[in-house]
Symmetry: C2
Subunit: 558 residues, 2 copies
């Protein structure tokens, strides 16, 4: 079983400390980036930081306070060492990684505690309230919006990060009803393995999957790669339990109910500001017989967008559909790993030549991934109908090879980001969602704002976008952008871009986040988007659950 506690991860970057992004077998990538961004990739910008180099504020907890924490969770499960505090001091946003590399951990927790059961969580909150200590729930720590960074708050004297990884048990499975209840600290791979051993499947695999878990997914309203069919995480929650400083908010796990405002949907998205999610009952599916992922190349992005709308509005839901715009398709062609088998690679090159002759290219077209999961017979039926809609909208099917390659590499992008950052490349992502009638407007306005922001700091830009997580009514848009870091001004440059992009999203009718969450990085736009009265309502909710304001201060603008 792949247990979260067995993996050593980077505190200054992404993922497993043993893994990196393989650049050697991608000969075209560096020249492309050098040309487009005007950089010279010679060596690492800087070596990986070491713990010794980090100057960390001392823990502000007294010995007595640490003893009290230990009395609750056991001495082995309270950590005040440098590594633990640094590891829990930053999330994984671009700004976080910049600060990690700069050895800046401005807000480390004063201790990290690892409760083993809900009862301990309750006692921790009780103690924290009495001692005026901020509590930051921590699941995988993969937030890209500043969701897990302990922020100071007037009236609080210290902070503890409550890492849930010991609470990772499968509580119960009901295969007849297709639900499974897990403790909230279970990470993606363990959850999938537990279910798979019972021939079940959650169908939630975000990019962070290997290093994130159930409680965090729900707290931040995440989306997996297969959300188009299985839904976002909040759609998968049948019941959820949250311990607040004032008691437990629980919900009966039933398929639907008319019992007032839906507290499940209040807990989902609460980002630890109301309490700590300890358990959730999730809707599950039979383990798919096949995972059929294929590549397609549309003549243009709009054709792909149109195809997605058409298939969903015909109630044909692929598990996964992603349409890259031309800029992203072009970039993908340079990221591609040529086959080491010369016969295979020859076939690919011949196919590319033939495609070009037919008017299809990665420079001008839109690369797409279409994925179906499930029973073999059902998948092949759906795939046939969907590919036919794609063809009608100008797509050339590229077959399984392109799909399989994407599927295999679907968790690699964060490692790629680490690598690029170390070459002095500014690289980040942001995402939004809107209805179909507004999708191209939002797309153009956000791309323009990002390019403008990079230009403002004298950087050329690669601004890519793909359509993913789509619905009958509209879709999410996911932007990846690359520029040149401005040495000494890296954070300022990023903040400027974030400001322009966030403003463009709201001005163009998009939501400030479809699945990354709010944290503190999105808080200013969040408040604008939901409006004054909803903010007041949230503050009232928070005051009810957490009158002392100890829960994850500063997130969601609370």
């Amino acid at each position: 079983m792949t247990k979260a506690k067995d993996i050593e991860t980077r505190w200054w970057g992404w993922g497993d400390i043993e893994q990196t992004f393989a650049i050697e077998d991608r000969p075209d990538l560096v020249p492309y980036l050098e040309k487009r961004l005007g950089i010279k990739v010679e060596k690492l910008r800087e070596p990986d930081p070491t713990l010794d180099e980090v100057e960390l504020r001392d823990s502000r907890l007294s010995k007595k306070q640490v003893d009290k924490l230990a009395a609750i969770v056991g001495a082995d499960n309270v950590k005040t060492d440098k590594k633990s505090r640094v590891y829990h001091g930053l999330g994984k946003s671009y700004r976080d990684l910049l600060r990690g590399h700069m050895k800046q951990i401005p807000n480390p927790p004063d201790a990290v505690v690892y409760p083993g059961e809900e009862n301990e969580v309750s006692k921790l909150l009780e103690l924290a309230e009495a001692e005026k200590i901020a509590v930051v729930p921590f699941c995988g720590g993969s937030s890209v919006v500043g969701g897990i960074e302990p922020l100071d708050k007037d009236g609080l004297s210290a902070s503890v990060s409550v890492d849930l990884r010991r609470m990772d048990k499968l509580v119960s499975v009901d295969a007849e009803s297709r639900v499974a209840t897990f403790e909230a600290g279970v990470w993606g791979p363990q959850l999938d393995e537990e279910l798979a051993s019972r021939s079940l499947y959650l169908g939630h695999q975000p990019e962070s999957f290997l290093f994130s878990g159930l409680g965090g997914w729900i707290a931040s309203r995440g989306a997996g790669r297969q959300s188009t069919s299985y839904g976002k995480i909040e759609d998968m929650v049948e019941g959820v339990r949250m311990v607040t400083p004032r008691g437990v908010i629980d919900s009966l796990a039933v398929p639907a109910t008319a019992t007032g405002p839906n507290m499940r949907q209040v807990v989902a998205g609460s980002e630890g500001t109301l309490g700590i999610i300890t358990k959730a009952t999730m809707k599950v599916h039979p383990l798919p017989e096949v995972y059929d992922y294929r590549g397609l190349l549309f003549k243009e992005f709009e054709g792909g967008v149109q195809a997605v709308r058409e298939m969903l509005q015909k109630r044909l839901f692929p598990e996964c559909i992603r349409i890259s715009d031309t800029e992203e398709s072009h970039l993908a062609s340079f990221i591609r790993k040529p086959s080491s088998n010369p016969v295979k690679e020859g076939a690919v090159q011949a196919a590319l030549k033939a495609m070009n002759a037919m008017g299809y290219s990665f420079e001008k077209g839109a690369f797409a991934i279409l994925g179906c999961e499930g029973k073999k017979v059902d998948v092949s039926g759906r795939m046939k109908q969907m590919q036919s809609i794609c063809r009608k909208n100008g797509a050339l099917p590229l077959g399984h090879m392109a799909g399989d390659e994407w599927y295999k590499g679907r968790y690699d992008n964060p490692y790629f980001r680490d690598l690029l950052m170390n070459w002095g490349v500014m690289i980040d992502t942001l995402e939004t969602a809107t209805n179909w009638d507004n999708i191209m407007t939002l797309y153009r306005n956000v791309k323009k704002a990002i390019s403008q922001a990079l230009d403002d700091y004298g950087s050329p830009s690669i601004v890519t976008c793909h359509l993913s997580h789509s619905y009958v009514q509209g879709s999410s848009l996911y932007f990846i952008f690359l520029g040149r870091m401005v040495p000494g001004k890296e954070i300022e440059q990023w903040e400027h871009l974030k400001q322009l992009a966030g403003d463009a999203i709201l001005a163009s009718g998009g939501t400030i986040t479809h699945h990354h969450g709010v944290g503190y990085e999105h808080a200013p736009w969040f408040e604008k988007e939901i409006g004054e009265e909803s903010m007041k309502a949230l503050k009232a909710l928070k005051a009810s659950c957490d009158p002392a304001g100890i829960m994850n201060p500063g997130k969601l603008g609370l």
Copy 2:
């Protein structure tokens, strides 16, 4: 256009004052009821009440207060006459109808106001807060849980019912994104007609459809007959706008978002306790080409339940599926209207005889309705697969005639209830939901509790149930029960039953309501179901939106 304001409805019973339930052409029904319930149907228990007989408390509003209301909505749109106040004083629960017949309207609003636009709603709330007047939002008035009855509250001196029927406009349609925005006061038929004229369709047709509307559906988290495919009303809401005494809670209409706790799902189910819903953006569908409804007869109820679970877990979603238990199937066979065409009726009787020979009967089997709506080719494909699953689970397809008859009569039950009540029959319904693994336990326990309660008051009972509004994880169960009214103790008898049934539902893991809502009738169980901490959170929300506590006092236990 079928406008709500053009229909005269009963204040003491259901629906259109011109319509009743046709008993004449159902010769088997009366003998059956007489035998089963030990009653003698000779004449009406009592004639319909008249307004003259009602003794109504005088309006507690001063002339000055009425003038202030009139200054906001216009003098024509403030009513203090007896009829208006009586009409808005009771909902349509069994207890409401009993009281109507007894000419007891204990809590009439002191005035009824009809705002024409949102701005007037805001001003009304401002005035009500200043004058300490309770405000009860009123859409169709069809609540069966006491949702629209104005209750007194300490500190408030009077109440007004805010009837939204003038706010019934289609605000915008976006066919590309499949959404339509309506004002909240639009009733079912007008909403469907507006959409149908644009070849669109909401797919929400609850039993109350003809006399209920959008704001009420959302406020009470209702379910339409076709919820198995289109979802409950809260699933159809993309955006919703609510005016509270402290400002407007609005939500961006996007397909999905990660912006914190979902306020749409807080507004849905708030039952007027936080504010008045003024507008909603709804997900819509293409107008179906065909409505294919068919009857089936299962050998037994469990087979039908199993078939529904199987089709949904295979991701085959009929728009409508209902499995009546044996008691309900038996009753349905007596409610059936024999054809006036002797040839047709002869064919039906011959078919029944043939069925009996095959071991199928309405006395022992389970009657089912399977309905698919949509494009002809899609419907026929799905129908074929679904019927095959039904046959595998012991069903005999009965064809279109039974389905069409059910579809045609789908809004008639409330008229039937009126008729029976007038014969001295206690008749009411209640509903719940649970996961599949618990469905038969919940079914048996609730049936037993209802029978017990009727027996406690010396009444024989007919307790029927059907499975409807089903999900991959479980289903709703809908109970209809008939007994003998105990003269002079009608309400006490009903309260006893409600107590036992509600307790049995909660003790058996069901939700106290899947789609009727909470109102004040379900408030005690509601509080138990959601728990102390969630109640506190709701109270905090209410205090934020409605600090003076003027919004629909006493509902949801608030």
